[in-house]
Each structure stands twice: as structure tokens, then as C-alpha cells.
């Protein structure tokens, strides 16, 4: 077939399938935090990318420490946790000082968080320099896993996939199996009623926002395994994040997962058969077409009209 042997075609299909899954997990990690903040709270957080950058810089800084003190092989898991805690804490603070004053003015949150993203970028630039940096990765994250001599499965891809699964499962437990999640969902459905039955909706808002930021931090930490970190790294991810969330249907976490999967597979298959940029164009055109027919996204939450 096309001058290639069946074995070659088979190998490429395996690796191509993996490339699609790997892109899926990247998109999912990017979008999950945003899906919580945008989908559940209706806050358009333009600084989402910068929270990822916080996670990425945390990892880079810790990797420097790890190199200095010789624990490179173990720091990465630790870095992910620290990235979460740090991004969570900063998100908590941002909600308290900025976002909570703007809940009744959703368009103003867009402007305010965009301003915040610029401020954060400049802070990164002033503290870490304008040049892009990379984290020193532990040995076990490098290279590839070879089930047969002609198939290479990148280990960092497997790692990101595993992490995406863990985070998704965690979010699922939090939202649908915990007291907190119940309160969050109640607040989303009917804020006034939720308040009336004794839920502290302000606290729910704060924790939800912070949680979304924390997950962004985890995503940022994970992305140091595939790309570099610079002050404006966040801007690379923000468009894709919004695309996934909006396409999936803003208020549905399952929609986010389905949309990340659909976009990733479409893009990776199209990019294989067309050129890379044309593959992207075709994917975007499809998304635009579908959104024109279904403006509420793939999975809209059912509401009475």
C-alpha cells in the first residue's frame, strides 16, 4: 500500500493512535480547570494560561533545587503537588481580591482577568527573565518505550496521559461524590436557593475558583515535559483551552472530555494526512461549523426554556 509494507503501516497506526491519545490528554489537562471555572461559575478567566505558567515555573525552580541537591529522580511528583498548592493559593487570593467583586458583571471579569494575565506575565518576566527555560527531567521520564523495535511510545506522553486520568478522576470524585461537590453543583443550579438552605455560597465560589486554578497549575507542571517555559507560555494554551470548553458545552464536564477527545483525534489524523497547518485549519473549520449548528456546544446542560 503506497509503497510501504503492512508492518510499517501497522506500526505507524499504533504510534499515530498514541499521538492522538497524547494530544487528547494534553487538551484535557488544559481545559479541565477552565471547565470548572468557566463552566460552573461562568467566570471567563483569561488568566487561566498564567496559572499554568505558575505550575510550570514551580517545576522549573524545583528542578534546579533538585539538581543542586541530587534528588532529580524523585522531585517531579513532588513538583506537581507543590504546583497545585501554589496555584490553588494564588487562585484563592485572586478570587478574594478581584473576582468576587465582579460576579454580577461577567464581561468585566473578562477585562479584569486579562489585565491580571498581563500583570502576571510581567511578574514572570521580571523574576525569571525573558528567556525560555526548561526543567531538568528525571531519567525515567526521558526516551521511549519500545514494545517492538519499530514502535516508539514516548514516555512523557504516557506520563501526561496517566496524570490526565488521575486528575480527571479526582475532579469527578470531588464534583459528584463529595459534600463539597454537592454544594458546588447546588450553587451553580440555583444560588439563591443554595444560600437559603445554608450553603456558604461565597466560600463555595472561592474554593471552586481556586480548585480550577490549582488544576491549571498541575497542567503547567505536566507540560514542562513536552515544551519549554517562558513568561508568555500561558498565551499558547489559552485559546485551545477555551476552544475545548466551549465546544464541549460550557457547563458540562463530560462535554469537556468528549470535546478534547474529538478535537485531538480529528487534528492528529488530519495532520497526518494533510500538512500540519492545514490539519489545524480543517479542525477549526469543523468546530466552527458544528458550533454554528449547536451554539450551546456538544453537551449542553438541559434547562427549561
Amino acid at each position: 500500500m503506497f509503497g510501504y509494507s503492512m508492518a510499517e503501516i501497522g506500526n505507524i497506526m499504533v504510534m499515530q493512535g498514541f499521538a492522538g491519545l497524547s494530544m487528547f490528554s494534553v487538551l484535557l489537562l488544559m481545559a479541565l480547570g477552565l471547565a470548572i471555572i468557566f463552566g460552573q461559575m461562568g467566570v471567563i478567566n483569561m488568566a487561566h494560561g498564567e496559572f499554568m505558567t505558575i505550575g510550570a515555573y514551580t517545576t522549573v525552580m524545583l528542578s534546579k533545587l533538585a539538581v543542586a541537591y541530587g534528588f532529580v529522580n524523585y522531585y517531579f511528583i513532588f513538583a506537581i503537588i507543590v504546583a497545585f498548592v501554589l496555584a490553588f493559593a494564588i487562585g484563592y487570593l485572586v478570587e478574594f481580591t478581584l473576582i468576587r467583586h465582579l460576579y454580577k458583571r461577567p464581561l468585566d471579569t473578562l477585562l479584569a482577568t486579562w489585565g491580571l494575565s498581563l500583570v502576571m506575565q510581567q511578574i514572570f518576566r521580571s523574576s525569571f527573565g525573558a528567556k525560555e527555560v526548561s526543567a531538568e527531567l528525571p531519567e525515567w521520564l526521558l526516551g521511549s518505550f519500545q514494545p517492538t523495535p519499530d514502535i516508539d511510545i514516548p514516555i512523557n506522553g504516557v506520563f501526561v496521559m496517566g496524570l490526565a486520568a488521575v486528575v480527571t478522576f479526582g475532579v469527578f470524585l470531588f464534583m459528584f461524590r463529595s459534600q463539597w461537590g454537592l454544594r458546588v453543583r447546588a450553587t451553580v443550579q440555583n444560588r439563591v436557593m443554595a444560600g437559603a438552605v445554608g450553603i456558604n455560597t461565597k466560600k463555595v465560589d472561592r474554593v471552586t475558583f481556586a480548585l480550577g486554578c490549582g488544576i491549571a497549575g498541575v497542567a503547567g507542571a505536566a507540560f514542562t515535559t513536552i515544551a519549554s517555559t517562558g513568561p508568555t507560555t500561558g498565551t499558547l494554551y489559552i485559546v485551545d483551552s477555551f476552544m475545548v470548553v466551549v465546544f464541549g458545552g460550557a457547563a458540562s464536564l463530560f462535554g469537556t472530555i468528549a470535546s478534547a477527545f474529538g478535537i485531538a483525534q480529528a487534528q492528529s489524523i488530519l495532520q497526518f494526512f494533510m500538512t500540519s497547518s492545514m490539519g489545524k485549519v480543517a479542525t477549526l473549520l469543523t468546530i466552527v461549523g458544528i458550533l454554528m449548528m449547536r451554539p450551546e456546544g456538544l453537551f449542553a446542560s438541559k434547562v427549561r426554556k
Binding site: I12, M15, S134, N156, G230, F272
Partner: protein, 416 residues
């Protein structure tokens, strides 16, 4: 005192006297020079030149996405200007810098150029980095008759009376490099990959013609990646299917890092795949990580490891001014040449007037350039050598090939 020691001692004394002499000469020369060149005579076009000072502009992005790349150029230009001032300035006048920020935004480059030329009346501007910023600023320089020194290697197809290009145009960077790798690796099949904008596209067009018409090779794939894209899984699989002898790459920015990291993670390291890139300098290596690059090749005119006295001094001075961790890439070195070339132009013309300086510079040979000898061609580009560097895991490159001096040819016939 043995003979040897004595000889060393005498050399030291000699060097010291020499240095003292030089200092007194320079300080003496400074004032004498300025008087020899009365302001009214060397400045007939109302530039910002006084009896003691001359103003120049530096216009790069200190903020925004391009700050990563342009910071090195700013540092190099400031170093050169500081050194020139230490030697007594230009025509006895100290250089004063007015620095403006292009903020990675092309219209801003045009606006700031206008400000520098029309309000500040600077005698020369060292600046611009991307082709887009240069194209935005160019009409302003031509209208106000300014003088721009542009440091970046670029796609060519341009020549202006008001610009000197201190980086390589496309053919200087591409042809000799392809010749070398085709011969050295007996390569027949090439996979071209670049970011999706004018410089990689023009470069790949030239590369493809050269491969097909002159090397008898075959291009098995040509691919452009959107700027900022970080997902290379599908592209890498395509490369694995086509098994090219050589990957010829011009990926830039954040994508570049993702490209090399994922290539390695997918098992395509330098032991399995030969790659020649025209978009990786020491600056990029910082982000990519030396271990991801080790064994791959870059085609540039300058590498920090170049062994010649000019370069050793340059590297030492640069680190002294900007810290021991500073690295110097190809463009940084080209930016360093700008102020020196401008000094030469003004001194050869005996005037700061742009019209006189511009005609005085072609033909000038700069022998103190860190890259070695360079010559200014009448087409405002530099004659320079092409070098192939093989990256080491520590982020520096070993120079494995050096071409003859190559004449700049911004409008190559048969390649358009």
C-alpha cells in the same frame, strides 16, 4: 630570574606601557578629534549631534513574546557602544543611547522608529529583529532618511539604501550548509519542516530548489507548523514513515523546544536521525536543553565556541558586562557588529550625515569581528562565512565545517 621569567616580565612591562600609551593617545585624541570635526561640518542635516555627544537609537522588543530573542541583541549593541565610548567615541563624540521598546508588536516598531528619527533625530538606529518588524519600520526609515542596522539572519529579497543587514541573507545560510551535509552524509532524501511564516517558507523554497536542481536529491516532505504549536506527534510519525536521510528544520520560538523534546521522546535522536537546522543558536539551546540537541547540526555564521582572538575577547567582555551565565548566539554577534560598522561609516565619511555615511560604508573590511573577517558589500549585506556546528549536551557547539567567505546575494537568480 630565569631567561623565561625575564622574558615574561619584559612582555608584561611592554604590554603595560603599550596600554598606557594607548589610553593617553585615546584621551588626547578624543578632544583633538572633536575639534578637527566641527559640528556644523559633520552634521548638516540637523541630527542630534553636539560638540561632545551623538545620539543613536536602540529599537528591539524588551517585552512581549520576542523579548526572549531580542534581549541578546540589545545587550550586544550596548556592549559595542560602551566599548566605542571607551575608545573616545565617534569623531570625538560620546554616543548616547535612546532605547525604545518595540514590544513584539510590528506597528509599534514603525511608531517608535518615527519617534526616534523625527523627535530625537538620532544619527543611527540599531534594531528590529523579525522580518515583520523590519518591514513595518522600513517605510519610516526610507521616508525620513534614517539609518538602520538590522542584525537577524533573514529571507533576503530586500535591499534598501537606509538599511545595513549584518546577519546572513538566506542563500548565505542555506546553500553551503546543504552542500556540506549532502556530501558528508551522502544524503539523497530530505524532509523540510519550518514554522509557518515568511522566513521559513522562503528559506525552504530556496532549499528545495537547491536540493532538486544542484544536489540531485529528493524532497520527501515539506511541512509548516503554526507559530506556537506544541504538538508534533503526527508530524513525527510522518517522518518515521518517510525515513528521510536529513531533516532540514527551521522551527522557531516555543514550538522549537517542543519539537526537539518530542523528537527525542519518540526515539528520533541524533544516533538515528541526521538533522540540520537553521533556527537554533546558543540562545535557543537554553530553552530546548542541550541533551535534546546533542548530535544535531546547526548552520550559522557564528558560534560562541569559535576559536580566534577577536571572539575570545568578545565572549569575555560580554560575560563581564552581562554576567557569567550569558550565552551568545548568532544574531547577538551580528548585532554587536552594528555599532562598529556605523562608527566606520561615519569616520570614513567624516560626517554623521546619513547620505554620506551610507556611501562610505560599502567596501569596508571589519577585521575585529568576533566571527572573523567581514566585508560590506555594495548591496548593504555582509560577506561572511558559513559554519556548521554540532551541538554538545552542554549547550555549546563544536564547529565541524567552515566555508569560504560567501558573497551576499539577496536576490538569488534561479531560486525564486
Amino acid at each position: 630570574m630565569s631567561t623565561n621569567d625575564r622574558r615574561r616580565f619584559m612582555t608584561k612591562v611592554g604590554a603595560l606601557t603599550g596600554a598606557l600609551l594607548a589610553v593617553s593617545m585615546v584621551s588626547g585624541m578624543g578632544s583633538a578629534f572633536a575639534e578637527d570635526f566641527p559640528t556644523a561640518k559633520v552634521n548638516t542635516t540637523k541630527l542630534a549631534v553636539t560638540d561632545k555627544t551623538v545620539k543613536v537609537g536602540i529599537l528591539h522588543s524588551a517585552t512581549g513574546t520576542m523579548a526572549i530573542s531580542e534581549t541578546g541583541s540589545i545587550q550586544a549593541e550596548k556592549l559595542a557602544i560602551a566599548q566605542i565610548n571607551e575608545m573616545g567615541g565617534v569623531l570625538g563624540r560620546k554616543i548616547e543611547i535612546i532605547q525604545e521598546d518595540g514590544a513584539s508588536d510590528w506597528p509599534t516598531f514603525a511608531e517608535k522608529s518615527k519617534k526616534l528619527l523625527e523627535n530625537d533625530k538620532v544619527a543611527a538606529v540599531f534594531g528590529c529583529w523579525t522580518s515583520a518588524s523590519r518591514k513595518a519600520a522600513l517605510p519610516v526609515f526610507e521616508k525620513d532618511n534614517g539609518l538602520l542596522f538590522y542584525p537577524t539572519f533573514y529571507e533576503g529579497l530586500e535591499q534598501s539604501k537606509n538599511v545595513f543587514y549584518t546577519g546572513q541573507e538566506a542563500t548565505q545560510q542555506i546553500l553551503a550548509g546543504l552542500d556540506w551535509i549532502a556530501k558528508e552524509k551522502k544524503a539523497k532524501t530530505f524532509y523540510l519542516i519550518g514554522s509557518d511564516y515568511i522566513w521559513p517558507r522562503t528559506s525552504m523554497k530556496i532549499a528545495r530548489k537547491h536540493i532538486e536542481q544542484h544536489l540531485g536529491g529528493k524532497v520527501v516532505g515539506e511541512e509548516y507548523i503554526a507559530l506556537g504549536d506544541t504538538q508534533f506527534g503526527s508530524v513525527i510519525n510522518k517522518i518515521k514513515l518517510k525515513k528521510p536521510d536529513i531533516i532540514y528544520a527551521a522551527v522557531v520560538g516555543g514550538s522549537n523546544v517542543a519539537w526537539f523534546k518530542q523528537l527525542n521522546a519518540a526515539g528520533l535522536n541524533s544516533s538515528k536521525q541526521t538533522m540540520l537546522t537553521i533556527s537554533v543558536t546558543e540562545d535557543e539551546v537554553l530553552g530546548i536543553g542541550g541533551e535534546n540537541l546533542a548530535g544535531f547540526y546547526s548552520a550559522m555564521k557564528y558560534f560562541q565556541t569559535l576559536k580566534n582572538p577577536n571572539n575570545e575577547k568578545f565572549v569575555a567582555d560580554f560575560k563581564k558586562m552581562w554576567g557569567p551565565k550569558a550565552v551568545i548566539g548568532d544574531v547577538t554577534q551580528a548585532a554587536y557588529l552594528g555599532p562598529w560598522l556605523w562608527k566606520a561609516a561615519v569616520e570614513r565619511a567624516g560626517s554623521f550625515d546619513v547620505d554620506k555615511a551610507v556611501v562610505a560604508l560599502p567596501g569596508y573590511e571589519l577585521k575585529t569581528a568576533p566571527e572573523g573577517y567581514v566585508k560590506v558589500d555594495p548591496n548593504h549585506h555582509l560577506w561572511s562565512k558559513l559554519r556548521i556546528g554540532k551541538w554538545r549536551a552542554d549547550g555549546q557547539a563544536d564547529v565541524v565545517y567552515e566555508s569560504e567567505l560567501i558573497k551576499p546575494d539577496p536576490f538569488p537568480k534561479g531560486y525564486q
